[in-house]
Symmetry: D2
Subunit: 136 residues, 4 copies
């Protein structure tokens, strides 16, 4: 199955007063994984002008399955769940010591930041995302 894997460092300061990884920080760690993937796209596929500055997030969904504590990095596995003309969905799973701790989804919208409105995915962007696409 096509997957992009990212090991995210959990900081001591990511813990909240309960001693667990704060809820909002899950989103920060998913963001790190997503940015890492987009940087590869930018660097290896010449997508700098599009991925780096021309994509906005329109929706996040996160399921919390078990608390995560300070310690070893968590493993994030990512893939593309849906690719439409003017949006695509990134799906993630976060594993803490090999156990699934959280799942998430980000709906991403290619955007023309200068013109200020959504745009279609370019062919180069589709070519970059395609290998990570999981259907069914």
């Amino acid at each position: 199955m096509p997957t992009f894997t990212y090991d995210a460092v959990v900081r001591w300061s990511d813990m909240d007063a309960y001693g667990h990884l704060n809820n909002a920080r899950f989103l920060t760690l998913y963001e790190e994984a997503r940015v890492a993937l987009f940087f590869i796209g930018a660097r290896d596929h010449g997508l700098e002008g599009s991925f780096e500055e021309g994509i906005i997030i329109s929706r996040h969904e996160i399921d919390y399955l078990r608390p995560v504590d300070y310690g070893d990095p968590v493993r994030i596995e990512m893939w593309i769940e849906e690719m439409k003309a003017a949006s695509f969905t990134v799906a993630y799973q976060m594993f803490d010591e090999g156990v699934l701790a959280s799942r998430a989804r980000s709906v991403c919208v290619p955007f023309n930041l200068e013109a200020g409105f959504p745009r279609r995915l370019s062919q180069a962007e589709r070519d970059f995302l395609e290998p990570y696409l999981r259907t069914g």
Copy 2:
């Protein structure tokens, strides 16, 4: 309509490299509003042992409608969308200068932290949440 309103300060450091409120920080601001509501419950309804430490979040959904910038506080309006035996859903809307900028939902699960498993909402918790319940 029953609503709990919270004005959340946006910090300069909440901005990301794009100069907008970072996506994950929306969740932090929603959290501030939710914690403020729960503190009122703890203080005014004797729910300290339950709300303050005995509720976990099992799911978040956030829709981003427009970017939010540094400046005046954003207004968060909150209510209870669904109340079941062993979970309830908090719904939020965030307004930036009077304009709807984001919507979110948190599925909350009462939890017995000592015993380590979910529990039912107590009658005192239901009494506290009821006035914020919107149905239909």
Copy 3:
């Protein structure tokens, strides 16, 4: 004594695993106060091009006197401690429920971001800072 006062909201998520305001977040709250002061300068003294983007921090010093907990906003009092040709020092005190909890200092250097090197304080900047200057 000339003082700029800023009430900083302490977020629940600013607490660390010990249940106290995290050490690094003190710096974030001091930053909020400083940015608020500079924004007034920018807005009321036409210093937008200088204060907003043309000042860098070269040094911070922070003394922690007592732990700060989640609850009411902390009060930050600020003044200018030293004003030299090409730098000035902002001094702060943070009060939690009226009790001094921390002290800090930031050495600020006017900077020409485009040219990439330090510059002298302009007369307009000096005029803005002067009322906050405490000597001796």
Copy 4:
């Protein structure tokens, strides 16, 4: 020279609106390095009850020498600068791509959290810190 080295990941979300590592986040990265060192002490020298929960920071000093951007981890080198009966000072240097970007110091005070007052360094703590001590 005795040194503890820690490679700290810089997150995309650590960038501020200027596109550089936010000032307060330097302190967060230094904290990660310090916590990592203390965890080694806790694990390898049986100092769990002392280092992990029984040390407070009484002062931080940070010098910012050059801006740090998102990208590769920064390298933090740490050592003990001074060891007194009831406090010790951790010194740090942060390198970005091999170039010194920042220097810092933390004054640490062993603390009896239950009793609520400072205490002396234990012999086990001194034995752990000694190899990292630089004098002169």
